[in-house]
Amino acid sequence: GESVGLHLPTLSVQEGDNSIINCAYSNSASDYFIWYKQESGKGPQFIIDIRSNMDKRQGQRVTVLLNKTVKHLSLQIAATQPGDSAVYFCAENTNRGSTLGRLYFGRGTQLTVWP
């Protein structure tokens, strides 16, 4: 499979601070990227996605930035809360027609939010 990796395996932040989680990918043909949040004992939960024709997308308290030049993806969480503590995965896909198909997941970053 293609290589999707994360720079930092762990990240600890103070409640209320902003968090930035980074991800590198190697397949220049990838055109769809997703961030998932996985809490302990649960399956991954979709957070936000971005297609390769965009460089920024915002959701509620989250922003994803895509830099295709250096094949880098980041997830920014504003005003981080204790409930944000989880493992965050980036995933990539080379979209095939109308179906998303297989996803390649990065290694994951454990985010811990301290009160």
Partner: protein, 114 residues
């Protein structure tokens, strides 16, 4: 979104035995996927299961070890055959749904092989 359940949620099994994991979705979906997540690791796709056709396996995974059934559009099973301790993992099913073709994941089945 999609509501996905898996059974069992966890199990402890003996070496050499087999375990069948069930995945149930609350609505009809075309594509279902099975992933493995080894302890402290990321997710690795095992196979894609479409109704009415043979499952498509990723490199490193074979049908004899991980047979999959997809009898209808809301259900699938994954069997882990002739288990060894190396098969101890979380097994997750996911489905693709919605106009954005998002993937939604089940809660996972935590398998421990002794």
């Amino acid at each position: 979104s999609a509501v996905i359940s898996q059974k069992p949620s966890r199990d402890i099994c003996q070496r050499g035995t087999s375990l069948t994991i069930q995945c149930q979705v609350d609505s009809q979906v075309t594509m279902m996927f099975w992933y493995r997540q080894q302890p402290g690791q990321s997710l690795t796709l095992i196979a894609t299961a479409n109704q009415g056709s043979e499952a498509t396996y990723e490199s490193g995974f074979v049908i004899d070890k991980f047979p999959i059934s997809r009898p209808n559009l809301t259900f699938s099973t994954l069997t882990v055959s002739n288990m060894s301790p190396e098969d101890s993992s979380i097994y997750l099913c996911s489905v693709e749904k919605g106009w954005r073709n998002e993937q939604f994941f089940g809660p996972g089945t935590r398998l421990t092989v002794l």
